[in-house]
Each structure stands twice: as C-alpha cells, then as structure tokens.
C-alpha cells in the first residue's frame, strides 16, 4: 500500500483482556518495527522483524507481549492479560533496509493504535 496501515486506531480493553494490534507495512519493505509510546514520551523500541524473522525482541516489556510476522508482510502485536500500564500508543514502522545499512535507516510510521486499559 501507499503507507503503513494500523488497526484498530483505538482500542479500549478491560484489565485482563487480550488484545491484538495489526500492522500492514509498505509493500516490499523488508524491515518492520514495533514501538510503544507512552503519553508525553518518545517511541520506545519493542521488537524488530526482517521479513518473517524476529531478529530483536529485547524491548518487549514482559512475556505477555508477543509479536509475529508469519509471511513477512502483515504483523500482529498481541498483548495478553492487559494491565493499566500497557495503556499507550503502539506504533508500527517499516523500512526497505536489510542487512547492514549503508545510510540512515529511515522509518515510515503508521498512525498508531491507541490502547486504553481500564
């Protein structure tokens, strides 16, 4: 597609519910990133995929967070047993870069999914 598409744009969950957030990256982009942005803060890295391989998941805050990209395109971020501290905007970004990049790795972001846990 023309840009990175994320759904849902807004999600309200009761504490303890499971949620799934979807990201549709730019067609052909090899790299896909998930970031978490709390109110008043900058985006915090969660995880990175190169095609279908999850190469870095060091930013996932707990084992309740799980991400997948089974066919190397669409990705889903799943949060199990949501807690109030999970409330944030979840941003997905993609880039065409793969391997060692020779220039700045410019990310194209989606509009984000705002999660509110009550």
């Amino acid at each position: 597609g023309a840009g990175v598409s994320q759904s849902p744009r807004y999600k309200v969950a009761k504490r303890g519910q499971d949620v799934a957030l979807r990201c549709d990256p730019i067609s052909g982009h090899v790299s896909l990133f998930w970031y978490q942005q709390a109110l008043g803060q900058g985006p915090e890295f969660l995880t990175y995929f190169q095609n279908e391989a999850q190469l870095d998941k060091s930013g996932l805050p707990s084992d309740r967070f799980f991400a997948e990209r089974p066919e190397g395109s669409v990705s889903t971020l799943k949060i199990q047993r949501t807690q109030q501290e999970d409330s944030a905007v979840y941003l997905c970004a993609s880039s065409p870069t793969q391997g060692l990049f020779t220039g700045a790795n410019v990310l194209t972001f989606g509009a984000g999914s705002r999660l509110t846990v009550l």
């Binding site: 900058g42 890295f45 990175y48 190469l55 870095d56 410019v106």
Partner: protein
C-alpha cells in the same frame, strides 16, 4: 538509561524567526542521527538526518548540526512557519546496536503567527 535526551519539552517561536531544537546523546557509537516530526493523531514522519562523520546537513529550511565532541545536535528551522508547529523527535541508531532506532522524548514546537 536515556541515550537520547531532549531537555526542552516545549518551545515557542514567532513566525519568520529561527527555531532551534536541541538534543544530547550519550552513546558515542551512534552512526546516524535523525529528526522526525509528529502531528497529533499521526505517526512520526522523517524530516532530516545526518551521518556521524558530518557536522552539518541542510535541506531547505531545515539544517541539522552535529557536535560530536559535545555529543550534541540541533535542528534549525528558518524561517519558522505556523505549519511547523508539531512535536519533534531526535533519534539515533548504530550499526553495532542492531537495527533499533532510539528516540528522545520530543520537543513540542509552537510557531505563533
């Protein structure tokens, strides 16, 4: 450990004047520095970048300056326009750090007409 710091949460500037947004970093291994701009309810969009081997990069009204010895970079916008009002994020990445980009907390710029 905040590797990229933007110490000014907000900045207000008159239209036509220069806006200077500052950023400090702690990791001397960063290879690239980037600035992203974010409007409400949208994702950040790339603005300008600079390699660690350069000290200046210019693109139209936007110039980024890098002072490696001080571990400091700044974004200059001149002349500032009301449409520049947004949150600006400083970001950095390193080859040795893998593919993750580290972001600062952002500075909200208000350009008054």
């Amino acid at each position: 450990d905040q590797q990229v710091k933007q110490n000014s949460p907000s900045l207000s500037v008159q239209e036509g004047r220069i806006s200077i947004l500052n950023c400090d970093y702690t990791n001397s291994m960063f290879d690239y520095f980037l600035w992203y701009k974010k409007y409400p309810a949208e994702g950040p969009t790339f603005l300008i970048s600079i390699s660690s081997i350069k000290d200046k990069n210019e693109d139209g009204r936007f110039t980024v300056f890098l002072n490696k010895s001080a571990k400091h970079l700044s974004l200059h916008i001149v002349p500032s326009q009301p449409g520049d009002s947004a949150v600006y994020f400083c970001a950095a990445s390193s080859v040795t750090g893998g593919f993750k980009t580290i972001f600062g907390a952002g500075t909200r710029l208000f350009v008054k007409a």
